[in-house]
Amino acid sequence: MILEKLSNAFGVSGNEDAVRDIIIDAVKPHVDDVTVDTMGNVIAFKAKAKGTRRISALLTELHTAAPSAATAAAEPRVMLAAHMDEVGFMVTGHTSDGCLKFRYVGGIDDRVMPGLRVQLGNDRVLGIVGVKAIHHVKPSEREHTASRESLVIDIGASSKSEAEGVAPLGTYGAFQAEYRKLGRLVTGKAFDDRVGCSVLTDLLLSKPYGFDVYGVFTVQEEVGLRGAGVAAHRVDPSCAFIFEGTICDDLPKKKDVSPTTRLGDGPAISIMDRSAIADRRLVDHLVAVAERDDIPHQFKQPGIGGTDAGSIHLTREGVPSVAVSVPCRYIHSPIAALDPRDYRNTVKLMDVALRDL
């Protein structure tokens, strides 16, 4: 599991280079080919196991259901995808007193910003997000979160030109939080979706499957699922599995509402979210395998969140897709937390499900 290394790496949407380097280093010895496409997606090709092996009726059906010209002639192939990018910031201006104005890259919760440390640029310069001291805030204003527009990043520069030199316009920024253990959990930044990248890497490191596999590490998921569609077009898969770190809201609550997912209950299978409705045959396959082998699993509460499945399932004439996620508390913040047992069960479920496909 290279989650720790990936979590600590700096890779905001559009600036995934450091993550890409780690992944290529990790998978290259275990796959047949690695390419980087024009968007920056990493496409790792792992050829099917040598010797004859019957593929399942399901994969045959998925492969031949609505063949495009290219697919009809080709062998069945499965795309496994996870996105490399994380949410973060971009420097959009400099103030006369040497602070940085910024915008979010992807969705960030305003409520977590005040009091944080951030890192800027590939040199990972330290910045802090201050807030007006509570002593100076009127009681009536204390309930409202400071809006992003009212915040600046302080890098300790004392003039505009000094700030421009350290962090020029367009500099990327990310949360600063080192990966660490937390009780029976682990915590860090960017688990969405470095945990998916780690799962996918583990699968590519295992022995070949009965069909060709394309492991795709996508870019720019957080700014609109931009990389995955392009990669899916190139791969033209028979079906796709998308690995994510997904929302988990299992804190104690006054009202009895769904936790979306629960930590410790195993991989979360998406049936429907805001980006896609999963292919029911793939969902049924995963559930059947999990039940047969007694692998913990859960359904993600339908209707919440979105994944690269949103663009992959619309590619070419359509790609049957399903997202399988490791539940993560506090995604899109510097304190994401997950249960390593869920991670292991996700890898286990996917490995078995692919061997049986």
């Binding site: 409520r111 802090i128 201050g130 979160t145 660490r180 029976r184 929302i247 919440i304 506090y330 937390a337």
Partner: protein, 362 residues
Amino acid sequence: MRALSDILSNMIQTAELIKTLTNAVGLSGNESQIHELIKTLFAPLVDEVSVSKVGSVIGVKWGGAPLRNAPRAKRLMLAAHVDEIGMMVTGIEKGFLRVARVGGTDPRILLGQRVLVHPVGRDADASGPIPGLIASRPPHVLPADKRDKVVGIDDLFVDVGLTAAQAARDIQVGDLVSFDIETVRLRGDLFTGKSMDDRASVATMIVCLDELQRLKHSWDVVAVATAGEETSFAGATTSAYGIQPDAAIAIDVTFADQHDDSSHLELGKGPAIAIGPNYHPKMGKRLMDLAKKLDMSYQVEPDIGGGTDAWPIQVSRSGVPTALISLPLRYMHSPVETVNVKDVERVGRLMAHFAADLAEEI
């Protein structure tokens, strides 16, 4: 924790001193966690070290020559508070901790922070500190009108990643929660971390005591790392009573300009010397004259008083001539409090020369 000998050999390096003091933990009312460190830092620089009944650490550096007709040497008290703000565990629900504020902790900065939970009244080495996260429900599942509301302290949890049974075993109501953040250099002379309020001022006292090793002074200098400033001024109130100083200087942090026009004071422009009813006008003037003589930049802070140890000290027993020297700081009561190391050195040096210049009368 680094070896104490390491800390000692580096303590002249003010930046190291600030890091060591701010990385240590000692919440209001429970300063005993930091007593050993303060005693160790004071010890080589003073003649006596003691801990008061309420948890202040007192270091006395005797004056050189007894004054004419004086039954005892006169005493200059320095007071910088050693306690820090934080939280206290008030309940455990399904393994998640409920907390209350200790001191003026700002709920607006809590969400998304890492913390440490410290067992109180039990063997700390055995069960803690336990890492935690300050958490609430994710924005994805909240109605739009809740997403820009600060999550109040009553709606936050500390997630320690433990099962209900594990949490019940390792954590108790009353345990303390501190921010888990290491002090680092931000840029140039600026350092950022937790509890600069008021450990950076404790550092100024150590710089002062170190400077006094090379200066002659006839007054006793009594450096007090006061307890309980953030909650009740317990340390300053009782230590001023016990020490009966002839004059006192409180050292605390103050608001520096931080891009919101909340202050005219600036980081790196030197000590801020207070003027107002809480402060003896002659002491303030003397500090300013001294700064000029030392060619040290300083700033003037008009202040009505009330938020520092100077408040109780001024009215101790029959009254104490009291001054306040403030260290400019950005983002007070957050884990990203920021000070300028040069300011810390200047405050220390200014106080040392002030002490050395004291004759029989102020």
